[in-house]
């Protein structure tokens, strides 16, 4: 697929922007970085991802692509501004990788939000194809996912003359009930493969099953009316950054930390720093919120072992990963999950406290 922009595989050079001393120079480098490197890469990724997910079936409109593009750029611009302020520590080595990840996640989020039922159907059919003895799912030389009976596995090209509408019509004319309850999932898929007589692309199978089973995605509801939808939005009104910057009660923080599952508790507590990079755990004994012994119990680490560790705190992710028998990435995910939960619960407490004092 050709795109308007040709984006070479190179890392983005943030240094001119980050090191520029004058505001004018800084803004010039910033504009250059965003317009000539970030924006084209993001557009390229969005067009490629959404085409492979959505194709022509859902009639993806340009305004939608532009919306997603705009949303991703806003996030990245915000991140660049924060990097300039030095809030996130050292500059990420692979900023290009970060930009790609934000764009890909935005596309997945778009598809997931706009077509949740189809997204679930994809998961379900993929499960069936990879777990049922009669079926198979494989990639051909053109990296297209194909599916069919297991005996067809390895066949390179899908039968191009079979289109979804033809297949649905053929099956409907046969009079066989291919609803999910009658024929069941395996029965329906087997019937489709028999009707096709050749491997199908996975996307086509999903579309045909969606037609037969009448899988429809509702129009987007009002976010205001639907708290569930609004909870799944990527951007909420409150920035976790802002919440974290609030001065939180150490006592509340400790109580909430104790409630976390062990992995999240460990990933957070052994690495907990304040805004000046100091180990927050050292404050707990001297404020009589928790003794070192109590902290070791909460962490489920023997006291003598924890006492030997105390002077080395806060630990880095590699050390925490070794303790948990996890990878560094998993430690980061655990800590992130813990912080999100902490943020939510501390916000709730703060809201309740404000309501109480307003009512008093």
């Amino acid at each position: 697929m050709r795109h308007k922009y040709s984006v070479a595989q190179q890392s983005f050079n943030l240094k001119p922007y980050l090191l520029a001393e004058s505001v004018l120079q800084s803004e010039q480098h910033f504009s250059d970085l965003v317009a000539r490197q970030v924006a084209p890469l993001v557009m390229c990724i969005i067009k490629h991802r959404l085409h492979s997910h959505v194709g022509n079936h859902f009639g993806l409109q340009n305004p939608e692509i532009d919306d997603i593009h705009g949303m991703v750029l806003i996030k990245i611009i915000e991140h660049l501004r924060e990097l300039k302020k030095g809030r996130y520590g050292p500059t990420p080595e692979d900023f290009r990788g970060y930009v790609s990840m934000v764009a890909i996640n935005a596309c997945n989020e778009y598809f997931r939000q706009k077509y949740p039922e189809h997204n679930r159907l994809r998961f379900n059919l993929r499960y069936l194809l990879t777990h049922h003895a009669e079926f198979a799912l494989w990639k051909n030389a053109e990296k297209v996912w194909l599916c069919g009976f297991r005996r067809w596995c390895g066949t390179d090209r899908p039968r191009r003359c079979v289109v979804g509408d033809e297949l649905v019509e053929k099956i409907s004319r046969s009079g066989v009930a291919c609803d999910r309850h009658g024929a069941g999932p395996a029965g329906t898929v087997a019937f489709i493969f028999n009707a096709a007589e050749h491997p199908l692309s996975f996307d086509l199978l999903v579309r045909v099953v969606a037609e037969l089973w009448q899988v429809k995605d509702c129009a987007v509801r009002s976010y205001d009316a639907d708290p569930v939808l609004s909870d799944t939005l990527a951007d909420t009104g409150v920035s976790p950054l802002a919440a974290i910057e609030q001065r939180v009660s150490l006592k509340c923080l400790w109580e909430e930390l104790c409630q976390l599952p062990l992995g999240q508790r460990t990933a957070l507590l052994l690495n907990l720093r304040d805004g000046q990079g100091r180990n927050v755990l050292t404050l707990l004994p001297v404020t009589r919120i928790a003794t070192i012994k109590q902290i070791s119990q909460v962490l489920e680490i023997p006291l003598d072992e924890f006492a030997r560790m105390w002077n080395k705190l806060p630990l880095d992710d590699k050390a925490i990963a070794a303790r948990l028998g996890a990878t560094r990435q998993q430690v980061i995910k655990l800590r992130r999950a813990g912080r999100e939960r902490l943020h939510r619960r501390l916000e709730q407490k703060s809201r309740c406290a404000r309501k109480k004092s307003a009512g008093a």
Partner: protein
């Protein structure tokens, strides 16, 4: 400042603040600080902590860059449905599902679908 026989020597308190105490001393001092106001006051002074009551102590945590939303990928949902997730992976999975309605829906849907496959094969 003089130290009575029941208190810890000032050098030990300084060692505590500097992060230089051995494990046995640390454990003993930890027990002592829980009950001794004088030593606690000294340590707080050495740490330059204010005079706020301990109950009012507040802290600002270090910022972390906000992460892009990372929903569950198919492999994770499949592994969970097959009962293959354990330990840290399971905790990460469950933490996400408890916060994300979209992924919770996908997990629920796959579980029901798996059941419908099994039911159809039984009948």
């Amino acid at each position: 400042m003089e130290q009575t026989a029941n208190h810890f020597p000032l050098e030990k308190l300084k060692g505590y603040v500097a992060g230089a105490l051995l494990a046995d001393d640390l454990i003993a001092l930890d027990e002592h600080l829980a009950v001794c106001d004088d030593c606690l006051r000294l340590v707080r002074g050495l740490m330059n902590l204010g005079r706020d009551s301990c109950a009012d102590a507040r802290v600002v945590l270090e910022s972390e860059p906000p992460a892009p939303p990372a929903h569950l990928v198919y492999r994770q949902v499949e592994s969970y449905a097959d009962g293959l997730l354990t330990g840290v992976e399971l905790e990460i999975f469950e933490a996400h599902v408890s916060e994300c309605a979209a992924c919770a829906g996908a997990v629920r849907s796959l579980r029901e679908f798996k059941k419908s496959i099994a039911d159809a094969e039984t009948h």
